[in-house]
């Protein structure tokens, strides 16, 4: 097996071999490797196929910008993960990875045929081709595209890993642990500011940490040595928290940032267990320093995508950081000085290399060094083509014309096994723009730079366009002192020597003798878009960068165009003949690099997926086999099936028992608001549609609450406890909103009212006992209470003690039966319930759930807000005009009740429906029509509530129907998928219209 690990570095432990599998084959790397560096050490460049043309692709970079080396990790159904960048994945023992987007394998790929028919797949190909005929979409195109496209496989089973979230607050957050970030963090922390420094790599130091060129020195030391000292120092600062393997995913307003910390991704399988895999840090920082550095640009020339073609600086990092050489005969193609550092480094390690430089000539310390080492430099030359299928094996260069628009002279063919390209540097302004910052364009080296416009964030270092070391350090120090309003002198006397770049020449699309249509000059490697595609888009009339991006899909892959956006812009500008700075950029959206769903969700999975509220009686319900229904956040008993019963059986039994003898319901979830104050009665007058002033102490009244638009909002019974003290109940789901709405009116519209509202929902537990025998059961529980209809009539309230404990008992009914609600302090709720059940035994007291409650009230035609109403129903629509006071001057929603729209006669109105076949149960939500033949069918309304009533032995339903009030007795039709159901409009009250049962 070839070994490209050619020397030792301090970041790789060669004594610790790590075995891993790639595409099923076992390889060895070393501790400290990434998957990419380990693959390169094994001589593997080819790692995937491109998305559209299925061209062989190799590792291009060494970081987050990697477009090609994305792989599928693991093969387990629950743990496999797609789209992992090999350049970021730290190697661990037992790692299993495979290349993506190639079938049957990376070396022989059927989709590769697309490469040969590629003239047929121009930009917008999918848009254009698959438009017609429409019917082909589902059957032909989509399956085909799905088969050949796609980036990796999602896991098919739940993620067993643990994720966590944490909120943190800092004075200063520094993003990026390169040289400028380290300086900024040190300055902040030493000035007593609580500081957080994050970096996505395992170790700090950015690209300086492996810098070893003699031309670049700080205080007479190699810059890497100097920086190691600095890192040692900041590790001692107590004010500074350093988080490595942590990347900022999103930078939101108000300096709220999300950072993802990788905690176990670098560990072998057995060490990952029971640990948090990733933690999402929710960071609030008073000030943010962005020091995210820059990314090297590729160059755009024909066949610039072959395996073995990398970014020049990445070759340098693989060599000096990982000890891996990317080839044995390397050519560097550049338009700037930084490739010379790579070249010199390679030369020192004995690796043959030469330089092709776009510039006519250039002079600087680095270039002098390269020249004196005898490195061959082709100035004013351009690479025009490359060769080699699975890996580059040679290339052609030609001389550039004076204006750089074309090539001149003869082709020179050079052999190589690796090509490094350097098209200059792109500052990583993602964080700056995500935070809302704008950009300036610097023509000099064609970069977008942060426009400083905020007191809360600043960019320093190369992400701010400062590229040489002297500039980086001096400017960082000055800016940080000013930004943090401090006076740090640590770097006052730092002596910096560095090579200064004096010459620049940028050409976005490099010239070629071959017509553009016949070239493959890739811009976006991952989405396979070429210079030709961009030009085509412009030719077809696209102008906006956002449109060109979508039409050609440039920059829309998982790397979000980190390598491609600038070239796309440059080519558009050149072609359209406009200045690049005037084009603007596409928007950089979070996340900066992809996040797993697990990280976003954190521990809100499984039993913590949703917040759960339980009543005090909950345990009893569980012990008695209740099925639960979620009502808001509450778990409410839905029905209590006995052995062998299904839901229907249980509900029929419960409903019958409640009317024949007695039933008991846990009503603790109803919202309860304690209302006190001298204006309490007036307040109720204003919030309910009916009148309250004359309600006697000890009496209860049902109230309907509207929105200002006149639509029903909530309902419930309110009890007058004393002159200025009421207890209001609300619906279960509406409790919080009602309280907040009432507070709103009190605080903003009627601050003059002396009223205090306090939620007591959880303070009381409520057992509601109904049925003809309810009085007897109450009598057993409260033997001293006079339960006669004279002393304790319907809609009244008594206080009594159960043993020593106060109970509030309301005689109110939601079932139409004689009914008592016993409220007790919640800590006794469970016990109260058990006592009720015990006392009710001889009367077959039957616990019933929400389904039976719904059925019983429907028999009586009582509405449920939110089921029979949907925010478009007025009291009149509900046939509840009786509850709207005509005398009151005003109440919430009153004026809206006679708006032209609310008085329309043909509004949807609540009616009862009876099916012609009494056994037929309607589906809730079913549409209602009068004529199934008309086209289009005239929809009259829909069914809101529907049950089989065991007490009436027939199906009953409530519905909202256009002009329903006037339709009593009329026949209507419910069209279902396979039949039409005939119904007759009826009264909404199906049982005991005379309310005899209330006092039976």
């Amino acid at each position: 097996m070839p070994n490209y690990r050619i020397h030792k570095t301090e970041y790789i432990d060669e004594t610790k071999r790590v075995s891993f599998k790639y595409d099923g084959k076992t390889y060895f790397g070393c501790e400290g490797d990434t998957l990419a560096s380990a693959l390169l050490a094994n001589g593997i460049h080819l790692v995937g196929r491109s998305f559209k043309y299925h061209r062989p692709r190799g590792i291009v970079s060494c970081g987050a910008e990697e477009p090609n080396a994305i792989c599928q990790i693991g093969s387990k159904k629950d743990l496999t993960e797609p789209n992992v960048r090999a350049t970021e994945l730290e190697l661990y023992e037992g790692l299993e990875a495979s290349s993506q987007n190639c079938w049957p394998n990376v070396k022989f790929d059927i989709g590769g045929i697309n490469n040969f028919i590629s003239p047929l797949i121009p930009a917008g190909f999918y848009y254009k081709t698959f438009m017609w005929p429409k019917s082909f979409w589902k059957k032909v195109y989509e399956p085909l595209i799905r088969l050949s496209a796609g980036l990796g496989k999602s896991p098919t089973e739940p993620d067993p890993d643990i994720y966590d979230h944490k909120h943190v607050h800092y004075d200063v957050l520094v993003i990026g642990g390169g040289i400028s970030g380290i300086i900024a963090a040190k300055m902040a922390a030493k000035n007593n500011l609580k500081t957080l420094l994050v970096d996505d790599k395992k170790i700090l130091g950015g690209s300086t940490i492996y810098q070893n060129n003699e031309a670049i020195k700080i205080d007479d030391k190699l810059s890497s040595e100097w920086l190691k000292n600095e890192i040692q120092e900041i590790n001692k600062l107590s004010n500074l928290t350093i988080k490595t393997r942590t990347s900022i995913a999103a930078y939101h307003g108000y300096n709220f940032l999300l950072a993802k910390e990788n905690l176990t991704d670098h560990l072998p399988e057995e060490k990952k267990k029971n640990k948090i895999r990733q933690r999402l840090w929710k960071i609030r920082a008073k000030k943010v320093v962005i020091a995210t550095g820059s990314i090297e640009r590729p160059l755009v020339f024909n066949n610039n995508d072959r395996p073995g073609i990398l970014l020049s600086n990445s070759i340098n990092k693989y060599l000096d950081f990982y000890g891996v050489s990317c080839g044995e005969n390397i050519i560097l193609f550049t338009n700037n000085d930084s490739a010379y550092e790579t070249s010199i480094s390679l030369h020192k390690k004995g690796i043959k290399n030469l330089i092709v430089d776009l510039r006519k000539s250039a002079s600087s310390e680095l270039i002098k060094q390269a020249e004196s080492l005898g490195i061959r430099i082709y100035f004013n030359h351009v690479v025009t083509n490359t060769f080699g299928y699975r890996k580059i094996n040679s290339l052609e260069i030609m001389k550039l014309s004076e204006d750089g628009n074309t090539t001149v002279g003869n082709k020179i063919k050079l052999s190589c096994d690796c090509l490094g390209m350097s098209g200059g540097w792109t500052p990583m302004v993602h964080m700056h723009t995500q935070s809302g910052g704008k950009l300036n364009f610097r023509d000099d080296d064609q970069v977008f730079l942060p426009k400083e416009n905020s007191e809360d964030q600043i960019s320093v270092g190369s992400c701010n366009g400062d590229f040489d070391l002297e500039n980086i350090i001096d400017k960082t120090v000055n800016k940080i002192n000013k930004f943090l309003d401090i006076d740090n002198q640590d770097y006052q006397d730092t002596n910096i020597i560095c090579s200064k770049e004096n010459d620049k020449r940028n050409i976005w699309l490099l010239p070629n003798k071959i017509p553009l249509g016949k070239t493959k000059c890739f811009i976006d490697f991952q989405n396979d878009s070429t210079a030709k595609d961009i030009k085509l888009a412009l030719k077809e009339g696209f102008r906006s960068i956002e449109h060109v991006k979508r039409y050609t899909t440039t920059g829309m892959a998982t790397d979000q165009g980190k390598l491609s956006n600038m070239h796309a812009l440059g080519i558009i500008a050149d072609t359209a003949g406009v200045k690049m700075g005037t084009l603007g950029t596409t928007t950089f959206r979070p996340p900066f690099t992809p996040l797993t769903f697990g990280t976003l969700v954190g521990r809100n999975v499984g039993k913590f997926f949703e917040v759960v509220r339980k009543t005090s009686m909950h345990e009893w319900h569980v012990e008695n086999n209740a099925e639960f229904e979620n009502v808001g956040q509450w778990k409410r008993p839905w029905y209590y099936p006995k052995k062998g019963e299904n839901m229907h059986d249980a509900v029929q039994r419960e409903s019958k028992a409640a009317r024949d003898s007695a039933g008991i319901l846990d009503a603790s979830t109803l919202g309860k608001i304690d209302i006190q104050g001298t204006d309490a009665s007036e307040f109720l007058n204003r919030v309910y549609t009916n009148a309250w002033s004359k309600l006697a102490i000890g009496k209860c009244r049902y109230g309907l609450m509207l929105n200002e638009d006149g639509m029903v909002y909530d309902d419930g019974v309110t009890t007058r406890i004393s002159e200025n003290h009421y207890l209001m109940t609300t619906t279960t789901g509406g409790a919080a909103n009602v309280l907040s709405k009432l507070e709103d009116y009190l605080q903003t519209e009627w601050p003059e009212l002396d009223v205090y509202l306090t939620s007591v929902t959880d303070h009381y537990s409520t057992a509601s006992i109904c049925g003809p025998n309810s009085k007897k059961i109450l009598n057993k529980l409260f033997p001293n209470l006079d339960l006669s209809d004279e002393n304790f009539p319907h809609m009244s309230f008594k206080e009594d003690k159960l043993e020593n404990i106060n109970c509030r008992i309301m005689r109110i009914s939601f079932t139409g039966e004689q009914s008592y609600e016993i409220n007790i302090e919640a800590k006794y709720g469970h016990s109260l319930w058990k006592m009720c059940i015990e006392a009710g035994k001889e009367f077959n007291l039957t616990p019933y759930g929400t389904e039976t409650m719904h059925l019983l009230r429907a028999e009586k035609g009582f509405i449920i807000v939110g089921q029979d109403t949907d925010g478009t129903m007025t009291p009149s629509d509900l046939q509840m005009d009786w509850i709207v006071s005509k005398k009151k001057f005003d109440f919430i929603g009153k004026r809206s009740l006679y708006r032209s729209d609310t008085v329309r006669e043909d509004r949807k109105q609540l009616v009862g429906l009876l099916t012609d076949d009494p056994k037929e149960i309607l589906e809730e939500g079913a549409q209602i029509v009068s004529d199934v033949k008309s086209k289009p069918i005239d929809m009259l309304g829909h069914v809101t509530s529907s049950y089989f009533s065991p007490n009436l032995n027939k199906s009953i339903a409530l519905a909202v129907v256009r002009s329903g009030k006037t339709m009593k007795g009329q026949k209507l039709i419910i069209p279902m998928e396979n039949k039409n159901i005939n119904v007759t409009v009826s009264d909404t009250i199906f049982l005991d219209k005379e309310n005899k049962r209330l006092n039976a």
Binding site: I162, D164, H165, K166, H167, V168, H169, I276, K282, R284, R603, K607, F608, V611, V612, R613, K614, T615, S616, E619, Q633, W634, T669, D674, Q676, G677, T678, S722, N724, H725, D754, Y756, T758, S759, V760, T761, D762, H763, Y764, L802, E803, N804, I805, E825, A826, K827, Y828, G829, H830, S831, L832, M835
Partner: protein, 182 residues
């Protein structure tokens, strides 16, 4: 026989976090604005209601937490003074000086103490505990794991957390789960 059932909250101690149910406490919500109100409450409780945001006052009998400019909560051991509610209700509510509401069962008090409690709370709360943890006596209302809570910094690294009864078991389970990952 009527007896008490508390939420299922048992003592947990791990990673320097100690979580306990701390019931047997009376909690009373107190509302009012005018001078008479302050005087009366002060006289009955022998304590001045804290007027400063996010603070509390305490004496040997009661702890009083600031909740809003016209709202406070007092809490105390139930064996201390059982008829204080009646006294307050009579002098404040009945005389229309303000509003007194018994919320003893509305809120469950979970005591959490130990070095890492603020780490624990921070995993589910956006509240900035920087100042809070350095000031004994601080109180605040905020969210923990999306659930409303009232926090009272009783003594160093010792916090009484008040949560609605219906949420208490869920929040407790979440706290226990979270304390595994400090």
């Amino acid at each position: 026989m009527l007896d008490i059932l508390h939420p299922k909250i048992s003592n947990i101690n791990k990673n320097n976090i100690d979580i306990n149910l701390s019931e047997e406490k009376i909690k009373i919500n107190i509302r009012g604005k005018n001078k008479e109100f302050f005087t009366k409450v002060g006289k009955i409780l022998s304590i001045i209601l804290p007027s400063e945001t996010n603070t509390s006052s305490s004496n040997e009998n009661y702890d009083v937490l600031w909740l809003s400019p016209d709202e406070w909560m007092i809490y105390f051991d139930e064996n201390k003074n059982t008829n204080i509610f009646d006294q307050l209700y009579k002098d404040i509510s009945t005389l229309n000086v303000g509003s007194i509401t018994d919320i003893s069962s509305q809120l469950i008090c979970i005591n959490i103490k130990g070095e890492n409690i603020f780490e624990l709370l921070s995993s589910g709360s956006p509240f900035n505990f920087e100042k809070f943890k350095n000031n004994v006596g601080s109180s605040t209302q905020t969210l923990v794991n999306h659930i409303d809570v009232i926090l009272h910094h009783k003594s160093k690294n010792n916090v009484n957390l008040f949560v609605r009864r219906s949420f208490s078991e869920h929040l407790y389970e979440w706290l226990v789960d979270s304390s595994n990952f400090i």
